[in-house]
């Protein structure tokens, strides 16, 4: 069983990996026509990567504010069940829930739910702090350095998929979870050609049904 040191090391590792992704977000925002201040405001205030990418993607393609916000919010809906799961796991009360809410994202949820017994809280807060600081620094760097660095040539886009796989792996502990993971992947793959960007990930959530049957 990994201990506190391993949890902290992984929290920093995830922060660095997300930071690499953050540089590409800052660059994407600048390329889409957002100011450096707007790019940084998104990372500080929205703080949910997929939604931020969706927003600047639609704005950059000339889409309207309504369509851009709708896509981003649709992608952000998965944070609601994440928060429900974390409420059950961390048992926080009072104003700390507001701060925890802001830090509720894929990475912090995955680390908290994948942590050894008793270390969920440490995993959540350490990952939240690490990812928040590095994601925001990286956004600023990316927005300022847009056009100077080619993030695709560095393989940063491939890093993101591997990061999600690394977060997924410790959560697949039994057969039902494996069925749900494979089902989610299959549903997303089928939905990519058939639905607008952002929707395939939401539809993947339907695969939960595969793990609820006997």
């Amino acid at each position: 069983m990994p201990g506190r040191g391993a949890v902290l090391r992984d929290a920093l590792g995830i922060g660095l990996a997300v930071g690499a992704y953050g540089v590409s977000f800052g660059a994407a925002a600048a390329t889409a026509g957002l100011s450096t201040l707007q790019a940084c405001a998104l990372s500080l205030l929205v703080f949910t990567g997929a939604s931020q990418f969706a927003l600047v993607g639609v704005l950059g393609a000339g889409g309207g504010v309504g369509a851009a916000v709708a896509g981003a919010v649709l992608l952000g809906t998965r944070n609601l069940p994440y928060a429900v799961r974390l409420t059950d796991l961390l048992r926080l009360t009072g104003p700390r829930r507001v701060l925890a809410a802001h830090l509720t994202i894929d990475e912090t949820t995955a680390m908290a739910t994948g942590a050894p017994p008793g270390l969920s809280g440490l995993a959540f807060w350490a990952t939240g702090a690490s990812v928040y600081v590095l994601w925001n620094l990286a956004t600023l760097l990316g927005a300022l350095g847009a056009g100077v660095v080619d993030t695709t040539a560095l393989g940063l886009d491939a890093a993101v998929g591997a990061a999600f796989l690394g977060l997924l792996a410790p959560q697949v502990r039994d057969r039902p979870a494996l069925a749900v993971a494979l089902g989610g992947a299959l549903v997303a793959a089928l939905a990519i050609p058939l639905t607008p960007p952002g929707v395939p990930v939401l539809l993947a959530g339907l695969a939960v049904a595969a793990g609820l049957r006997r």
Partner: protein
């Protein structure tokens, strides 16, 4: 409305709505989670969504399925995971694999 203020509207609107979603989840009363099926669903939902995110991130080019350097990066990352490499190593191996393939 100027272009600048429309963009700010999008930025701040997204921030407000995304935060509202996160907070709503934290304010769900504990008794709503007493049903074992509901609890099981909240445990499994991140699994399904993360699996979907992997596929979208690696195999999607807008609305087409593609097999490119990202897939090779994912395969290398998966191998590193099987060898019990730490998270950062998994990510670096994936990025380096894709970068090398693109440089060929």
């Amino acid at each position: 409305m100027s272009g600048l203020s429309a963009t700010w509207l999008a930025v701040l609107g997204t921030a407000a709505l995304c935060f509202a979603l996160k907070l709503a989840g934290w304010l769900v009363p504990p008794r709503a989670l007493e049903d074992p099926r509901v609890r099981r669903a909240t445990v499994l939902l991140p699994v399904a969504l993360l699996a979907g995110l992997v596929v979208v991130q690696v195999f999607a080019a807008r609305r087409t399925l593609v097999l490119d350097a990202r897939a090779a990066g994912l395969a290398a990352g998966a191998l590193a995971l099987l060898l019990r490499a730490p998270f950062l190593v998994v990510v670096v191996v994936a990025a380096a694999t894709a970068a090398v393939l693109r440089g060929l």
